[in-house]
């Protein structure tokens, strides 16, 4: 039998996918437990999701959530930092901490039979960190060095400049979470301990257990480790999100050694709970959220300007940024900006095609299970449920909701949510080579942006 290769084979019947069922329980302490059983490998991930993200810092504390998170490795009331590291790593587990605007996360992955040990250590770290002065000082100095490193690293430099140029100076999101040098310099162990006392309460905390563990075991183990913890819920303040520019402006960060220009184009987006959330995911996929997106096809596959381009609406409790990012050869910097704006204008004016919307929906719905294969992935998704107070069965309906997004809705949200008249365009590159071309583009004023780390 000769095989007909001339067209792609049709798919077989679709198989059902179920997001692992998530149990949510309110604990007596005020903390929340989330548990999802996934049994194929003997692994478990545990995470404390604490409402102690960067948005919960007070004026003068910018960068303190970051320091507090990293200083958790400094040890607990029961053991030194080094002893803690030994305990964890003999289990094959590594302590991971990461701070977003909305949460401070503390996570461990280990073998499922070691869940009791893992939760004992997690509870110690979260409830009784010691913050010894010498360890906090060391980690503060590492944070300062990292701020310095980013100031000469083009991608970090562009990311940091982008948020400074998108948001007004007083806005919460107008800075990187890591903070700036002057502020971080002022932090000590007392500051970290005070932030911990204020923000690390059971009412502010969810414990996620995902892996080869039943709900009953997860519940009893979390109760054992966290049950006698006391403290109220203390909501974080609502971030402010005013924009910096009223009309499109080019911010040029001079990096004389650059052989490529890092580009960021963006504006203030929308909060996670916006009713257009799903349509914006579809829109973003078509703009630059997938390989076959319009911008990647144009800038990479047609013109060869870049290795790749990506866009994202950063969904947070308040309006995070919409940002397009790419890096292009210096000599095509202005042309790349021009092509990007041309594609964005076309999308805003005419919307996507029906085929593009179909592809984007199928892509988003299809890749969801691919991104749910590990206990860490599932934990991250559950943390999202908690942070945004979504239903426990939220992800079971996610694909239907994406599938219901119609072309005319995407057309409307493109018109309403792409603010092309007030973009902040950040260019980190060799100004001597590119400033003239950027001026000549005449898309907006070209302003030199200092590296204000």
């Amino acid at each position: 039998m000769t095989l007909d290769r001339s067209s792609p084979p049709a798919p077989a019947p679709i198989r059902t996918f179920r997001f692992p069922s998530v149990e949510r329980r309110a604990l007596d302490s005020g903390a929340t437990l989330y548990s999802a059983q996934r049994g194929d490998l003997p692994l478990v991930t545990v995470r404390a999701v604490i409402d102690a993200g960067a948005a919960s810092e007070r004026a003068g504390e910018e960068g303190l959530a970051w320091l507090t998170a990293s200083a958790l490795e400094g040890g607990t009331a029961k053991r030194s930092g080094e002893a803690l590291a030994w305990e964890l790593e003999r289990l094959g587990a590594e302590l991971e901490t990461f701070v977003t605007w909305d949460a401070l996360n503390v996570e461990l992955t280990t073998r499922a039979d070691r869940l009791p040990d893992a939760l004992t250590l997690l509870a110690e770290i979260v409830r009784e960190p010691a913050f010894p002065a010498h360890e906090v000082e060391r980690l503060r100095n590492e944070q300062l060095a990292e701020i310095l490193r980013r100031s000469t690293e083009p991608r970090g430099l562009a990311d940091d400049a982008a948020v400074r140029c998108i948001y007004a100076e007083h806005a919460t999101y107008a800075r990187p979470i890591i903070g700036d040098e002057a502020r971080v310099q002022s932090f000590d162990n007392d500051a970290a301990a005070a932030f911990h006392r204020r923000r690390f309460t059971p009412g502010n905390t969810a414990i996620v257990v995902a892996g080869a563990v039943t709900v009953e075991v997860a519940l009893s183990e979390v109760e054992r480790a966290f049950g006698d913890w006391r403290g109220e819920r203390r909501p974080a303040p609502v971030p402010t999100t005013d924009a910096r520019v009223e009309r499109t402006t080019v911010f040029l960060v001079d990096r004389p050694s650059a052989v490529q220009s890092e580009l960021r184009l963006g504006h203030v987006g929308v909060p996670r709970h916006h009713p257009d959330y799903y349509a914006l995911l579809v829109l973003n996929t078509i703009v630059a959220g997938a390989f076959t997106s319009r911008l990647n096809m144009t800038l990479r596959e047609k013109h060869g300007f870049t290795y790749g381009v990506r866009s994202q609406f950063a969904f947070r409790r308040a309006a995070g940024p919409f940002i397009i990012q790419t890096a292009v050869a210096s000599d095509v910097t202005a042309r790349a900006v021009q092509e990007t704006l041309r594609e964005l204008n076309a999308m805003r004016d005419n919307g996507p095609t029906a085929a593009e919307v179909r592809t984007a929906r199928d892509y988003l719905a299809g890749t969801l299970p691919l991104e749910m294969q590990t206990t860490e992935h599932i934990t991250a998704r559950i943390a999202e449920l908690h942070t945004f107070q979504l239903d426990a069965d939220y992800f079971e309906h996610w694909r239907e909701r994406i599938g219901a997004v119609e072309r005319d809705v995407v057309e409307r949200v493109a018109r309403e949510h792409l603010h092309l008249d007030r973009l902040s365009i950040v260019v980190v590159g060799n100004a001597a080579d590119i400033e003239g071309d950027l001026d000549a583009l005449a898309v907006g004023d070209v302003i030199r942006h200092g590296n204000s780390a």
Binding site: L3, D40, E89, R90, R114, A145, T152, Q373, T374
Partner: protein
């Protein structure tokens, strides 16, 4: 709580066979999620490039996504994204891999795409596509290497560690000049030489019926002809395990933090001593109880971060590389000296260090096996390098077999000052 985690082996079941044209196939069914990983390893990498064509294996990889006789330009990406799948490829010193992770009911699509570019790539190749992808790859080089602090560290270390006629002397990304020189004739020649079923491994992992998968693989791959025998790797592949002298260099860059790299010549991947090197790399630089973190980051505060990595490469000899980024207040020479002292302290390494490293490697192995794409990649790798997919199940035994005495002996033999290259990066104007 401090005792060693008990062994709890995980076994990945698979079946393997070979088509008449030489294609090796590994099938591993996992019905836990409705997804399938399709993974191909071609036993060709930058080591196979001829002089004047560095970077070509990688440029060729890009061309494999540009369509084939029955797959229109850009359709490869579009069809997989429409199916709700993800895809990519990567080129390294020893191999080139291509993979897609798909909803299980699209398995046949993956096989159609992969077989078409293995069997019918050349009719779709054009000068315009080559010129476009050449520009893309040059921008990839700028992004990864030329515009990135410390971005050329591996290129520089490879040149310092391997003689000019060794296949690892040059980097995977290659030089701008050589990328410029690549022609359509090169594409045709490279394809005919290396892209043959007898030089490839296909692995499927996920939710499929193995009998049906065999049938589909036969339909799509059986009529691709076997290629000529693969020519030997060019250049001088044998090198002594003793460098007999230290090589040093210091580079000034537009950076704010100095960094030191030390690369030691070690036995190739797959040898018993390689596993001692792997465990040693974890003792040194993986985790917050790692030797270099304890001493250089936590205690002496000379370093901002430390990393150690044993390259899993097979031709002649491999490298164990350690690097540390200096604190602004630290002197780069002091950091370099301190790194050397700690590596020499491995002569007295304790059992607890070895046990911790093995526990970390065990955990890493288990977490890696969670995804169908990683499992498929490992099955392809073990089949390509060792003709033994079961190493996915036995590799950990080699790690667990490493003793404290093995680590000490390995360190004494390989981690010597006269068996290494040292590369320092310092801020502009700071080279004394």
């Amino acid at each position: 709580m401090s005792k060693r985690v008990a062994e709890q082996p995980v076994s990945i079941a698979f079946e393997r066979y070979r088509l008449d044209n030489g294609l090796r196939v590994v099938l591993s069914r996992d019905p836990n999620a409705p997804v399938v990983g399709v993974n191909l390893w071609y036993n060709v990498g930058s080591r196979n490039e001829r002089p004047g064509r560095t970077g070509f294996a990688h440029l060729f990889e890009h061309m494999m996504f540009q369509g084939s006789e029955h797959v229109p330009e850009m359709a490869h990406f579009a069809l997989i994204e429409q199916a709700g799948g993800s895809l990519n490829g990567s080129t390294w010193l020893d191999r080139t891999n291509y993979y897609e992770t798909l909803p299980a009911h699209y398995l046949e699509l993956g096989l159609w795409l992969e077989s078409d570019r293995l069997g019918w790539l050349l009719p779709a190749m054009t000068q315009e596509k080559l010129d476009n992808q050449r520009d893309v790859v040059k921008n990839e080089r700028r992004w990864r290497v030329d515009n990135q602090p410390y971005g050329d560290w591996d290129e520089r270390l490879q040149a310092m560690m391997y003689p000019p006629d060794h296949p690892y002397h040059h980097s995977v990304i290659g030089s701008m000049e050589d990328l410029d020189a690549a022609s359509l004739e090169d594409i045709e020649q490279f394809f005919r030489t290396y892209y043959a079923p007898n030089n490839a491994v296909l692995s499927l992992v996920g939710d499929f019926d193995p009998a049906q998968a065999r049938d589909l693989i036969g339909r799509y791959f059986d009529d691709i002809p076997k290629g000529a025998p693969i020519p030997p790797i060019p250049g001088r592949t044998e090198i002594p395990l003793d460098m007999a002298g230290e090589v040093r260099d210091t580079i000034e860059q537009d950076i704010s933090l100095a960094r030191v790299y030390q690369a030691y010549r070690i036995p190739a991947y797959g040898t018993d001593e390689y596993y001692a090197a792997l465990v040693t790399s974890y003792i040194l630089g993986n985790g917050k109880a790692a030797l270099l973190y304890r001493t250089l980051v936590r205690d002496r505060q000379l370093a901002q971060d430390v990393i150690a990595y044993a390259f899993p490469i097979v031709v002649g000899a491999s490298m164990l590389v350690v690097w540390a980024t200096a604190r602004p207040s630290a002197n780069v020479a002091d950091l370099d000296t301190a790194l050397t002292e700690q590596i020499e302290a491995l002569a007295a390494v304790d059992d607890v260090d070895v046990e911790r490293a093995v526990a970390m490697l065990e955990a890493r192995h288990l977490t890696d096996l969670q995804t169908v794409d990683e499992r498929a990649d490992q099955l392809s790798m073990y089949t390509t390098i060792f003709d033994d997919p079961d190493r996915i199940n036995t590799e950990l035994e080699r790690v667990r077999g490493v003793t404290t005495a093995d680590v000490r002996a390995f360190a004494a033999k390989c981690l010597r000052r006269d068996n290494r290259a040292v590369l320092r990066y310092v801020p502009n104007g700071a080279r004394s």
